[in-house]
């Protein structure tokens, strides 16, 4: 049953119970328990097309609780805690930032616990059944470009994690909402006015954040793995000419390895997985100043395979 089949009061009742809400997101299942109305309402909007199920029918990967602290911060400048399996990996956040805290906490759960996969910090999209991997540092325009591509005929697999199964080198989709930051929020609103962006959260550690809901089609196909074909390192540069320059594979491999969450932990498996991926992909540097020019060049690349 999709999350959107439940009303907010129904979901809040579930989330407040001992069993919580179970969300099936990519290869993971998450149980969330909370009494925070705003968080439940936001998650219903952002994860509306994801499935939920009964705790009795599902082995849960991450048991997340988000409750107010049991001290005066429950009422005075109220805060909220994120905990997993009884651990509190973060300091409490302002209760008004519960949604970004959930998203960051979910990232933390994956990066820390999903060690059966190789985890790259990259967005992933797909066209013509070939996957495009966009690894990048913050500020490179990766999320903005990925969001624009996902509304331009590309299948959206992920914004934050490129999850690779070491056994076959396939990419496992996890099409969670994309956290757009600062100017990117208006850029995507202008680019695709029909998209849904949740409430804006100001003064977070990354500035203002608005979460972009993923296309329904991406979630419907979230169990269909991707085949790596292109590794493209994007870089937004205002007033620059849009260029796509081939990149040396060994250099690309070094960049990818340094961009992974758990490459060292994966050790030889990580090396072999990245090596295979680079061997199977064409590697490029993409410099762009407008989304339309970047999409056009990537469309041409994908259509000429």
């Amino acid at each position: 049953m999709k999350l959107s089949h439940y009303s907010v009061p129904e979901l809040l009742k579930k989330a407040s119970s001992n069993n919580g809400i179970i969300l099936l997101v990519g290869p993971f299942s998450v149980r969330l328990r909370t009494r925070n109305h705003q968080l439940v309402s936001n998650l219903r909007d952002l994860y509306q097309d994801f499935s939920t199920c009964s705790v009795k029918n599902q082995i849960v990967d991450f048991h997340i609780d988000m409750f107010s602290p049991s001290n005066h911060r429950r009422w005075i400048k109220p805060q909220i805690n994120f905990s997993i399996d009884g651990l509190f990996p973060f300091s409490p956040f302002s209760v008004s930032h519960a949604t970004p805290l959930f998203e960051w906490g979910f990232n933390w759960c994956i990066a820390r616990n999903a060690q059966n996969f190789l985890l790259l910090h990259a967005a992933v999209l797909e066209k013509n059944n070939k996957s495009l991997i966009l690894p990048a540092l913050p500020g490179s325009g990766k999320s903005t470009l990925a969001a624009a591509l996902s509304h331009s005929g590309w299948r959206f697999l992920s914004d934050e994690f490129c999850i690779i199964h070491p056994s076959d080198g396939k990419i496992i989709p996890i099409p969670r909402p994309t956290p757009l930051k600062n100017e990117s929020i208006q850029i995507i609103r202008d680019f695709s006015p029909d998209t849904f962006i949740g409430p804006l959260f100001h003064n977070t550690r990354k500035g203002t954040i608005g979460h972009l809901r993923s296309p329904t089609s991406a979630i419907e196909q979230q169990h269909k793995p991707g085949t790596p074909r292109w590794i493209i390192f994007p870089r937004y540069q205002s007033s620059s000419k849009t260029t796509l320059m081939p990149l040396d594979k060994s250099f690309s491999q070094m960049k990818l390895a340094s961009n992974a969450f758990n490459y060292e932990i994966q050790s030889e498996v990580g090396f072999k997985t990245v090596t295979r991926m680079v061997d199977n992909c064409d590697c490029y540097n993409l410099t762009f100043s407008t989304l339309n020019s970047a999409i056009s060049i990537l469309d041409t690349l994908a259509d000429n395979v």
Partner: protein, 102 residues
């Protein structure tokens, strides 16, 4: 001084025991994964040639220079030896090689 230099050049080098080096060679460079440190290094053609020679069997700097010279027909062998001396030192710092224990 001359004696010390000679000693350094005749000291043999080898890949440490219980160390796995995974190597992916491509056109002009190679990537080496060092199992003990978990680090990955990018080497140019001479670097990877030197490492592969040392991996095959323990070798002195002089022998290494001779073998590389044969492969690349270097015009100035003395410069090559200096370069390899630096390279061997770097390899040792990275833990890729160590002085050979007879």
């Amino acid at each position: 001084m001359h004696e010390v230099k000679k000693q350094i050049q005749s000291r043999k080098w080898s890949v440490p025991q219980n160390t796995t080096l995974l190597i992916k060679q491509r056109q002009d460079s190679a990537i080496v994964f060092h199992s003990k440190s978990g680090e990955t290094h990018q080497l140019n053609d001479i670097g990877i040639a030197a490492l592969l020679i040392i991996q095959q069997h323990p070798v002195s700097l002089n022998d290494l220079a001779d073998q590389i010279n044969k492969l690349y027909e270097v015009e100035t062998p003395s410069e090559l030896t200096v370069r390899l001396q630096r390279l061997v030192k770097d390899f040792e710092i990275l833990g890729l090689i160590e002085p050979f224990k007879e």
